[in-house]
């Protein structure tokens, strides 16, 4: 895990520094050369890249992500403190919504295989996968917020503000989960153990929920890591569209300002988060499927 993180830090760091321009380039504005020189010295940007890299690693070990260059005296740590809870609640709502609705939709589609409901669900799934979330977001804003005036257009505050961005963010993952669940469910329902369950005289609902669903959602759990990544990256765009003061907004602004510390800090934070999520997914997989056991060695 740490090695993965180190690789990400290294690659991002050198990529970022290979991009032309510096944090002090301002379009159209001429800055005083001495001021820039002093600033460079202050942030250690006058030193060779290799030295900067080692300095960065050193502060990273102490969990100090450094100061923001563009928004003095704000530090990256405090940006994350402010932005992350917002992004987290948005992401979690979207993820939970996608999982619950996706599995429900997929299951219903599988049970009504080739029926009207199945066709409807799968058309919806294809649309959900192919239409990018910023298009969904714009449509939602146009109709739900502007024309029907049901929910606020943008910004963050009450639960009403959360609905539209969470919906927009969850359509992609929801559609993927629905398709996967349906495919697995159709397969699982033809398994011999479903017939055994029927031969015991169990009711169809028991068979679906107890015997089929658990086996059908196993691959969905595997996919969860990728879906979390999908929602994280999706949130950059969605937060920008809905003007939500989350991590994604800071990240995008950081890139626009070539704010090295912010770019690095948010990247490292997101990477660490994703790695932890993947790890949790692996553990969850072991809990759901008894055939996969976590051993002290090996696995």
């Amino acid at each position: 895990m740490l090695i993965t993180l180190w690789l990400i830090v290294t690659i991002t760091f050198f990529l970022m520094h290979s991009v032309p321009g510096s944090p002090f380039d301002r379009d159209g504005k001429e800055a005083n050369a001495t001021v820039i020189q002093n600033m460079m010295e202050h942030y250690g940007l006058d030193k060779p890249v290799a030295v900067q890299y080692l300095m960065y690693l050193k502060s990273l070990v102490t969990l100090d992500l450094g100061p923001s260059i563009a928004h003095y005296p704000d530090s990256v740590n405090s940006m994350i403190d402010r932005g992350f809870p917002v992004s987290l609640s948005l992401g979690m709502i979207a993820l939970v919504f996608a999982i619950i609705c996706g599995i429900a939709l997929g299951t219903v589609a599988a049970l009504r295989q080739n029926g009207l409901l199945d066709s409807f669900a799968m058309i919806f799934a294809v649309i959900g996968i192919t239409v990018p979330n910023f298009v969904v977001a714009t449509m939602l804003i146009k109709y739900v917020a502007v024309e029907w005036k049901l929910l606020p257009v943008a910004t963050w505050g009450t639960w009403k503000h959360m609905i539209l961005p969470a919906l927009a963010l969850s359509t992609g993952p929801l559609a993927i989960i629905a398709r996967l669940t349906r495919a697995n469910m159709v397969e699982v329902l033809t398994q011999d153990y479903i017939e055994t369950a029927r031969a015991k005289g169990l009711a169809p609902a028991t068979i679906v929920f107890k015997h089929a669903l658990r086996n059908a959602v196993l691959p969905v759990v595997t996919l969860l890591g990728a879906l979390i990544a999908n929602i994280l990256t999706g949130s950059f765009v969605i937060e920008k569209i809905f003007a939500i003061p989350g991590m994604g907004k800071y990240f995008v602004d950081g890139i626009n300002n070539r704010d090295y510390a912010v770019i690095m800090g948010t990247t490292v934070f997101y990477s660490a988060l994703l790695i932890i999520m993947m790890f949790l997914v692996d553990i969850a997989y072991g809990l759901i499927d008894p055939r996969i056991k976590l051993h002290k060695k090996g696995a």
Binding site: D192, T196, A197, L202
Partner: protein, 353 residues
């Protein structure tokens, strides 16, 4: 211990199937998988259904519990009576009451027929809780007792384990435990030993016999292994192309087979005492297309003794000896005249066909 068996072995019919027809609707058309099957299962006995793949033996068994795929399979006519109660008209809800409590079924491959993600204890207990009004603790106690009965040691700890922690033979024992835990009167075993090696097969067959003595359950065993039939069945039904062609007590059918198909099946079995230089004798040809079954005897095209009448008119069922029925034109008095002497298989080597 033998009490229940002695009570019921008297042999009143427990399950009676009359003229059962099952049809599958497929893209290619209607497949007439079962075309008029008659079966009688007496209390406490073991009835075997044998035949080659696709002869309708599994479909017949599944239709008794109506476990056929609802969308494609249909019982077009016939009657199935369990203890005098007609099953064909029952609703799905009534059938669920019956499944597992009156009729149980075990399948060929326990590896796929048991759920890999639920403990085996739960898989046994859920059946008990479904059919009996008992507490979970009581259900658990019954599950332990049942596992002990089918020969699984340390049932208390085994209950908490998953399928992949058991060997092939054990899995089959667990499936038997699941099927018998609600004390059904009929157990249908669909090729229960096919996926097992020979020694485990013998153990499982002995287990069937032991359980039958203890509980008095009547067993319908579906197999293509005549050795299994000889070992545990009381009576045997030979099926071909969706029909029972010969039926009777095992000894009678094996020693005095009347139908050419039964003869062929017996002749194609490898034997320990046969001359190794003689190759196995398979039955030539393939079973008929059940999309359009032939009007006469379905075996006529493969039968070395087929007569002109066989392909055009279906033969009548005859009873050459009490309890032994055959559906073949050779049984007709007019054919008997030209029929060569049939030899008992067990004593004089291979029968001439």
């Amino acid at each position: 211990m033998n009490q229940p068996k002695n009570d019921t072995k008297a042999g009143q019919p427990l399950l009676e199937v009359k003229d059962l027809h099952v049809t599958f609707t497929t893209f290619g058309g209607e497949v007439k998988a079962v075309r008029g099957v008659d079966l009688t299962l007496r209390a406490g006995e073991t009835l075997a259904i044998v035949g080659e793949s696709g002869c309708g033996k599994s479909v017949t068994a599944r239709s008794l519990m109506r476990l056929l795929p609802e969308r494609t399979a249909r019982i077009t006519s016939g009657s199935i009576k369990l203890k005098g109660r007609e099953l064909t008209g029952l609703s799905e809800k009534q059938l669920r009451q019956l499944r597992g409590s009156e009729i149980s079924m075990i399948f060929q491959d326990a590896m796929t027929a048991l759920n890999p993600t639920i403990t085996i204890g739960e898989q046994i207990i859920e059946g008990i809780l479904r059919h009996q009004k008992v507490s979970r603790t009581e259900a658990r106690r019954q599950a332990v007792e049942m596992l002990e009965l089918v020969g699984i040691s340390h049932p208390q700890t085994r209950l908490k384990q998953y399928l992949h922690e058991f060997s092939g033979g054990m899995r089959q024992r667990i499936m038997i435990a699941i099927a018998l835990v609600c004390k059904p009167s009929v157990l249908i075993a669909d090729e229960p030993t096919t996926a097992l090696d020979v020694t485990i097969q013998a153990q499982i067959l002995e287990l069937f016999q032991m359980l039958q003595e203890r509980t008095g359950v009547s067993i319908i065993i579906i197999t293509h292994d005549l050795g299994v039939v000889a070992k545990i069945a009381d009576r045997v039904n030979v099926m071909y192309a969706g029909r029972v062609v010969e039926s009777g007590p095992v000894g009678e059918v094996f020693h005095r087979p009347q139908h050419p198909y039964t003869l062929g099946l017996l002749a194609s079995m490898p034997r320990l005492d046969s001359d190794r230089t003689i190759p196995l004798r398979p039955i030539p040809g393939t079973p008929p297309d059940l999309f359009a079954p032939p009007p006469g005897c379905a075996f006529a095209a493969r039968c070395s003794r087929a007569m002109a009448v066989c392909g055009t008119y279906p033969p009548e069922r005859t009873e050459p000896s009490p309890g032994h029925t055959v559906t073949c034109w050779l049984q007709d008095p007019r054919a008997q005249a030209v029929r060569p002497e049939s030899q008992p298989v067990g004593t004089a080597g291979r029968p001439a066909i």
